[in-house]
Symmetry: D2
Subunit: 362 residues, 4 copies
């Protein structure tokens, strides 16, 4: 039983391989009458596309999205919305040298074992190229969330051991504007500069490095999330862990919270001008799996990109010792391009839960 | 759209509140002809039940499981298996004093906001009591996994800032035996002693503390996991995050991996006597969302229990400032009892993916 | 992948075998704040229970339902509602003589082939006893539909070749009252008398006979149904075909419609005092898979009960020729007891689609 | 919650409107290593396409399918298979005159009510054009079923009141060859001639007529179907009822069975050279919702096409009385083109249940 569908009501199914004809997505369950801003969808994709800056892969893809169905006169009709993104830069010859060997910490070996087929063209379905389809669908989810007043925004909070200071998240538009001032997408300019320099150095060594993305959602009404399994943070966690290269997820106090005492960690309620709020937010905006109206905050850890420009030992599909040489055009650090992907998946989870919550009461 | 069902093929639906008549679970999709060892299921529940030791809650529940359907002459029949656990110790009067106030960092406020109903009897559905149903279902999943040779085992790897050293996981039976030698369920005796002393001190202060559980699965065949959304670690992550009090999940290199370089982090393949293995295991046994045959390893962070024996400020359901006093019988640290829950959820995910993988090839 | 769950948002999972400890159902997704009238639920079950009259089986089961979870102070809480019905009359010795032979037109052979287990106690899971759980869940669905003004009601429209005349369906309460005046549950008294006499004769011959149930739903708002696969009539059809002994389903003009011309069959729209209606209703209240506000009407065909009091040739589990003798206590005609089952399944489909439709528009 | 996905393991999601850019389908869960015969898929589409003969619509669409993903070197890879069929003949001007009125017995009114959008271009999503996507996916399912030895084949068994005699179904290839000898797709030549003449007369009157399709599946192993809700015939029934214009479904004895006695209707088991078979097949190859190894047989009733070349009274979107004139190019009788659609949906259900059944036993 395959797993290319995500969401229950606002539901997406993606398709496509890195070196096939096109990738794409069907969004089923997007409510009718939503104005579709194609420029916004394209702008989101542009934040993810390769070749943006010196610290991303130099591959070039325009990643131009086309809508094939589901809209009429600029609005959604309630029918499935199909979007495709043709693949342009299919230089699969770059991969010719690796046809029969398993690249370390890639999915070559596991796909081959599972399906008995070796699609050697640059990762095939396991390529992060698939996430472009998610960003397109997530942009639609963001448009829906805007009708509900909900905002989702993220930035790069660490690269290697370089950590950004905590940020004030009062205003989504200002946050995004600040973040887009630099190519690493960190909202703190000084940290951003340090990160960029570090990544550039890593790149010159033919190496890669990991990092973290921190994501916020504000104006989320209390009540989203479906215990006991589809808790809001459980669905957010699954969404993030399904993104290529993610190795960890935490919300609110996260792993640090495991070192704290209850008397420090409890978020005390107060009445703030008629609205129930909490003084601290170690809960990350979610209690018992349901949003409590405070800002949602979570962090996502990305491992270093597995493709490095070094020669590495490995085995081939016959199980024989082999060597793999470093070629191709890859990202030295994935997090700057991961920011729109994290936002997209978060938006999809929230859109789904807004709709699911409509059935909570008679 | 509610969320009390987990799994696609090996699928469970739980029900029940902490102070209702019973809690329980329906397991639908457990394959036929599986011998059902009721003593094993009960023994798993006994590891989770309250009142086990001085560092767990003093509430008493025998948590005796009954199977209502789905077995015949000691074997599963392929029909749904219903298991119920009657509630015995329903001292809801302990909660009488908190009828109308929202306990900090509990789910009282969010459930009330979502459903418009205040079930004040000790958490109702949001109580961790629900996890007993998961442990019963997970025990069945473990019995199925045993027929496939797969073993799942966990222990407490940290309490507060006390961390256990890394452990050798060669043998599941030995691991579990060592872990069960102490009441905190840490496989390292010296660390266990330190943890127990620390928790006992916390308890005497009427406070609580968080901790971490580390879980392993061995003998997992390569091939489990369904990209791109139902990656094995994404489903494990959702399973863990759905457990009460969990604030973080990481697998393999986890959050530390975000600080590493690709040249350090890549797991080099080699042929170990005919089996493809990796020298290191930063991938935690999962590459591209699919198991690679190496041991699966992940860690789960639990926040401190929210119920403390201190008075706390809060608001009531009218939004008025109020105070809550600390009473009742609660765990000073949840991780010792969380070990069987983590194992149960991991077993459910793996059983589901073993069955899902049967459709991978013609 | 098992199939004991029905519905997407208003979702039920049933369990239990005819001769196990209990049967039951979990209803997940019933909206919170619904007043639960337990007497109504029991009254619905009483219409299905065995031993009601001379034309039903003489087995006796009180079929007393218990609610284990999901309600608080008489209202639903939004959490899963578990209901169980203990099995009382488990005279499995009646079945002892058939332990190893496959009863003709029963599910003995197919269950044995599929699962490799022969639960010979009177049908086990394949017994129509399972439908009691559906009736309990359907009663809850009816209570929800009442809050929306929707009514569901059915009667026996044929037994063998005896057909009831078409009926006026203005008023649900009157319809049900008229139907309950006779033991065959046909709204037309003269036809009912004829049916009863016929069934009684069949019974005396140790034989059985089939029949049809016609079901209506009124006050259904236009807009329910989810094209292209989850059309309202497609979900109704699946619901009905999942009931034991059902061999056919048709709505609106049904099979007769296949003989008609478009110029006869088209339902002409008109404005009836501000409401768009149709003059005729060959569409059965559903167009393009979506309700149009006219009464929904469908018919369900039941085959004759397979258990007859005659000796029959068959084979045993070794494939050897064998004979089966007619014993036990069974229904000569299933349709009088099927009326509440048909209504229950229809109510479940409608409740699910009312909730699904809440996500149709922004 | 939208409904454009069908199937659990072999699962399809369709998209597209009659007058948009393209229609298409994603098949997720098709097992890896299946050889993909694109000519076969196209040939199946050719049986459904418009403009085939004088008794079908004169619209012209080449309905050329393209595969965008999921195959590599002629075989499935286990990843989602996207197929699109561009729309060519989008003469939406034919529909211009009906922009604001609701066509009788079409889905105009119900879609408008549900979604609040009036896509007036020839039916939009409710057009039977969507079924081309199903035929493409169904062709893939047939290719998979061939690897299991299972064959699915159907023909037109009635048009209006003209009924074909019962047919011998020994051989699928011969059956299909005989059926394709005539443009109405009835396997009996004499009846076919009568049907063609009748439809041609109806067409000249600007009218339409309904009919029935009978479908068989042979070599189906015993064991397919998942009680209690996902019974094989319940899933077949839903699949058929989801096809445009279908008003009824019956299997085995069907509606006639409701008039029979148990002593006539029971299918007596015998051992036919080592295989358990039944003498008669009133069960239609399915007992208790599970296939029993006998041929599966079911019938599907189609209402007459709603578009007729007559003027009709109706209302417009303001609810005002209006008139609709008959224009455009439509089918006088849908059943000849429905044969491949019925087969496709049946193949999808069977492929899904073959894969689901793999989880039945340990």
């Amino acid at each position: 039983m395959a797993g290319n569908t995500f969401g229950q009501i606002f539901r997406i199914t993606t398709f496509g391989e890195s070196h096939g004809q096109a990738i794409g997505v069907i969004v089923d369950g997007c409510p009718a009458q939503l104005p579709v801003d194609l420029d916004f969808i394209q702008a989101e994709l542009d934040k993810r596309k390769p070749g943006q800056s010196k610290i991303t892969t130099q591959r070039k893809e325009s990643d131009t999205v086309q809508i094939l169905s589901g809209t009429f006169e600029g609005k959604t009709t309630g029918t499935p919305i199909a979007m495709i993104i043709p693949n342009e830069d299919q230089r699969s010859k770059d991969y010719g040298h690796n046809v029969d060997v398993f690249r370390p910490s890639h999915a070559d070996f596991t796909y081959y074992t599972k399906y008995g087929i070796r699609d050697h063209r640059g990762g095939g379905r396991s390529s992060a190229r698939e996430t472009a389809a998610r960003v397109a669908a997530g942009a639609l989810a963001k448009l829906f969330l805007k009708t509900q007043g909900i905002e989702v925004f993220a930035h790069v909070s660490s690269v290697g051991k370089i950590n950004a200071p905590n940020v004030d998240i009062k205003n989504a538009a200002e946050f995004i504007e600040a973040r887009e001032q630099n190519i690493v997408r960190c909202v703190d300019p000084a940290t951003a500069e340090e990160m960029i320099e570090f990544i550039d150095g890593i790149r010159k060594q033919g190496d890669t490095v990991g990092g973290k993305v921190t994501c916020f959602a504000t104006n989320v009404p209390a009540g989203l999330g479906e215990p006991v399994f589809d808790k809001l943070h459980a669905d957010l966690g699954k969404a993030m862990l399904s993104i290529n290269a993610v190795h960890g997820f935490e919300f609110g106090s996260g792993f640090d919270g495991s070192e704290m005492r209850g008397s420090e960690h409890n978020d005390i309620f107060l009445n703030n001008g008629g609205k129930v709020e909490t003084i601290t937010n170690f809960s990350g905006g979610i209690q018992g799996g349901i949003s409590n109206g405070m800002p949602i905050e979570f962090r996502v850890a990305f491992k270093p990109v597995a493709t490095i420009m070094h020669n590495q030992q490995t085995v081939n599909s016959a199980g024989e010792a082999s060597e793999i040489s470093g070629k191709g055009r890859h990202d030295p650090c994935v997090v700057p391009r991961a920011v729109p992907i994290v936002e997209a998946m978060a938006a999809l989870v929230l859109a789904d839960h807004v709709l699911r919550n409509r059935a909570a009461k008679v």
